[in-house]
């Protein structure tokens, strides 16, 4: 199969496609998807490994620097990717004024939940 270059050289240099900011969105969705693979597998493996462990063991585990870093990376990439994906879903199925509100609420929720998750992780890591 022949591989076609969709963008013009100028478009490629500027980094914007025909849909103005559309290419940036599409590209970031892919990048965050790739970035998510490792933290997601780490998270799933950790959940399996910690089946039935008590509170103390879990806190001790999350406070280890490698796990703290992985959890924060997971939260950042997860909510970033979720915001981009949900934006497309909202734009496809919700219209007019409701769309604007849905997008605003969704973005706020993603930022807020990422903040909650990261601060909780850091509190545990720093033993606060």
């Amino acid at each position: 199969m022949t591989r076609y270059r969709i963008q013009t050289p100028l478009g490629r240099a500027v980094g914007l496609g025909s849909a103005k900011s559309g290419f940036g969105h599409w590209w970031t969705e892919r990048i965050t998807a790739i970035a998510l693979v490792l933290p997601a597998i780490w998270f799933a493996a950790s959940l399996i490994a910690h089946t039935g462990t008590d509170y103390e063991t879990f806190i001790h585990w999350l406070a280890k620097p490698i796990n703290t870093v992985m959890m924060v990376l997971l939260l950042v990439t997860l909510f970033w990717h979720a915001a981009l994906g949900l934006q497309v879903v909202i734009e496809d199925y919700v219209h007019s004024v409701a769309k604007i509100w849905a997008l605003i609420v969704m973005r706020f929720a993603c930022f807020a939940l990422a903040a909650v998750g990261i601060i909780a992780t850091l509190r545990i890591a720093l033993g606060a």
Binding site: M1, R3, Y4, R30, A33, I34, V37, A40, I41, A44, L47, I48, A49, T51, G52, T53, Y55, F58, I59, L62, M71, L75, L78, F79, A82, G85, L86, V89, A109, L113, A114, V116, G117, I119, A120, T121, R123, I124
Partner: protein, 135 residues
């Protein structure tokens, strides 16, 4: 002029309900649905971490909810949804690199995604139960 403004029956593209579900179309919408579902489960992740940070009482309360029957069923669904979106997402990334676009390859990768997701879900839960039995 009046004729122009009267509504004429315009040809419509067939509604989605008319089409027989195919592996390709089902997996396409499944990637979307699983993405939205995982966003909901991401909310649980944030709440779970917040509960852990606020102390053992809140944490054990949440663990009880997750450990209950409805909680465990939801968690099983979450596992399958997680693997389906992960495998399906990797399939999409392969397509984005303009590879495996022949119809045969599309069906092969589609079934691979379904079977691999189911297998990974079963393996995860078996491993989890095995570890729970040992601790």
């Amino acid at each position: 002029m009046e004729r122009m403004t009267t509504k004429r029956a315009r040809p419509l593209s067939p509604n989605i309900q008319i089409y027989r579900p195919q592996l390709t179309s089902v997996l396409s919408i499944a990637n979307r649905i699983t993405g939205v579902a995982l966003s909901v489960f991401a909310v649980v992740l944030a709440i779970w971490l917040a509960a852990a940070a606020s102390g053992p009482a809140a944490y054990s309360q949440l663990q009880t909810i997750i450990g209950s029957w409805p909680g465990q069923i939801l968690f099983l669904i979450a596992t399958f949804v997680f693997f389906l979106h992960l495998c399906g997402g990797i399939r999409h990334l392969v397509w984005d690199s303009v590879r495996a676009f022949e119809l045969k390859q599309i069906y092969a990768s589609g079934w691979a995604v379904v079977l691999l997701s189911a297998a990974l879900t079963v393996i995860s839960w078996l491993l989890s139960l095995l570890i729970a039995g040992h601790s």
